[in-house]
């Protein structure tokens, strides 16, 4: 229950920081996607088998805070989180920095999927190459931001007594 409370707080904070601090920490056209980071980090570190459902809920939250149709973020968050959850046992054995590195392609894929779907729906008018480059930048940037968060998670979860 406590972890869900943390997830809700984390999601709120992510949305707030995503919108309020975007002008401050945008590099070029890339800014970290904190809500995607929260969703995928939750999926990566959670021991629950249906953690991807929480990621889908966060995807819906992303849709509600974005312009355009609902459901796009929800579907993409759910699919990427499902794939990440499938690889979770292998991911759990990795050191923290590799976990963070593994998040980069996941977030880039998720952002790209959302962008492509919105392009198909006619909501954005960007070239696929431009979109891909931006998504890769967002993935890398978000993964870099995730490193200290994952380190804290690792430190909290690690048993410090015998």
């Amino acid at each position: 229950m406590l972890s869900y409370g943390l997830l809700i707080c984390g999601a709120y904070l992510s949305v707030v920081l995503d919108t309020a601090l975007a002008p401050a920490w945008t590099i070029g056209s890339a800014a970290p996607d904190l809500l995607a980071l929260t969703a995928l980090s939750w999926t990566a570190v959670s021991r629950r088998s249906r953690a991807y459902l929480a990621a889908a809920a966060l995807g819906l939250l992303a849709d509600l805070n974005a312009t355009g149709r609902l459901g796009v973020g929800m579907a993409c968050f759910a699919l990427v989180a499902y794939l990440l959850a499938s690889a979770q046992p292998q991911l759990g054995r990795l050191p923290v920095w590799l976990k963070a590195a593994a998040l980069a392609p996941a977030i880039a894929a998720q952002t790209l999927a959302i962008g492509l779907m919105r392009k198909v729906l006619g909501e954005i008018d960007l070239g696929i190459a431009t979109m891909a480059v931006r998504c890769l930048a967002v993935g890398g940037y978000t993964a870099a931001v995730s490193l200290p968060l994952l380190m804290v998670c690792e430190w909290v979860r690690k048993p410090r007594w015998s």
Binding site: A20, S49, R50, D63, R69, L70, G71, A75, Y82, S86
Partner: protein, 328 residues
């Protein structure tokens, strides 16, 4: 422990797709929902996050202000440090200059004392500067009408002789100010020319660049220790913007930028009068003298006022001599 292992085993295999399917279907349905229907929901969510966003924006602005203040503070501190260093350097330089000045003053004093000890009095002849105004064409015409333009007539200087107006300098002082031919006319310490005709009230100056101008000069190289005097030569005006310096042997060191000082016997050498700088130096095969061109320091334009350097006897020496004659 058993439960945890079972969970791990289940996750290590394929995850059940069944729970994901309704999520995907729901998302597809939401995509087909008209925007008008979803707008109220979006508005409610936006209102939910608005307080947090306001708070975050406020924090961001404060942080930005703090960062800018820190940067400005650092910049000010760096500037203060630079200025402090500069002040320290200038103070040090000032002390060095004061020391050099004191040493020079002491040296001069000791030289004067030595001269006083060896010679009975101060120098007999001293260079002196007398100010004179340069007359323009209108002033010349006026003086001509009054028969007061008493110099330069021999050189063909007439009020309407436009050929001379540009090149000839006429001064409003002559023998009345004890001027004499070959006195140097200066603008500051830069030599403008020489007096070639001195009348009772006016005098004519031949500029350095005028044809026929000749004088003895000495080259000097600026160095860290001061001026290093070099070879002597003869300066000649050629009617061009640059003057020639002749009779400097190729064995003497000469370089572009060297100063050209007066070295004649008019007192200008002790006065430190400057003719100009070496503008060009050439040496052709077989030459025994450098081909040197000098750029005059006084420039091409005539100054409004010049100072004529002339030698005068030291009144102290004259007075002392008269006293000695008068005394038994």
């Amino acid at each position: 422990m058993t439960t945890f292992n079972r969970s791990l085993r289940r996750r290590a295999g394929s995850l059940p797709f069944a729970p994901l399917a309704p999520v995907l279907v729901a998302s597809l349905l939401l995509m087909t929902a008209p925007p008008r229907a979803t707008e109220p929901l979006k508005g409610a969510v936006s209102a939910l996050f608005a307080p947090g966003q306001r708070w975050a924006t406020r924090v961001r602005r404060r942080a930005f202000r703090w960062v800018i203040r820190c940067r400005l503070g650092l910049a000010t501190a760096a500037q203060q440090q630079d200025l402090s260093d500069e002040l320290q350097r200038l103070r040090q330089r000032n002390e060095e200059l004061e020391t050099a000045l004191a040493l020079a003053a002491r040296r001069d004093q000791s030289e004067e004392d030595a001269e006083g000890a060896s010679s009975p009095s101060a120098p007999l002849v001293r260079p002196a500067l007398v100010q004179a105004r340069v007359l323009g064409p209108q002033a010349r015409a006026f003086l001509e009408r009054l028969d007061l333009l008493d110099a330069g007539r021999d050189a063909g200087l007439e009020p309407d002789a436009l050929v001379f107006e540009a090149s000839t300098v006429v001064l409003d002082q002559g023998r009345n100010a004890e001027f004499s031919v070959d006195d140097l006319a200066l603008a500051g310490r830069r030599i403008v020319g020489k007096l070639v005709d001195v009348g009772p009230q006016t005098s004519v100056v031949r500029k350095v660049t005028d044809p026929g101008y000749r004088d003895l000069v000495q080259l000097a190289q600026p160095s860290d220790e001061g001026l290093r005097l070099g070879a002597r030569g003869v300066l000649e005006g050629a009617g061009e913007s640059l003057c020639r310096i002749r009779m400097v042997e190729v064995t003497e060191p000469v370089a572009t930028g060297d100063l050209v000082l007066a070295a004649g016997e008019t007192g200008a050498s002790s006065f430190g009068a400057v003719y100009g700088r070496v503008a060009r130096v050439e040496r052709r095969p077989g030459d025994v003298h450098w081909r040197i061109w000098m750029e005059p320091a006084a420039g091409q334009d005539s100054p409004g006022e010049v100072a004529v350097l002339r030698l005068q006897t030291n009144p102290e020496r004259i007075a002392r001599a008269q006293d000695e004659v008068g005394s038994p």
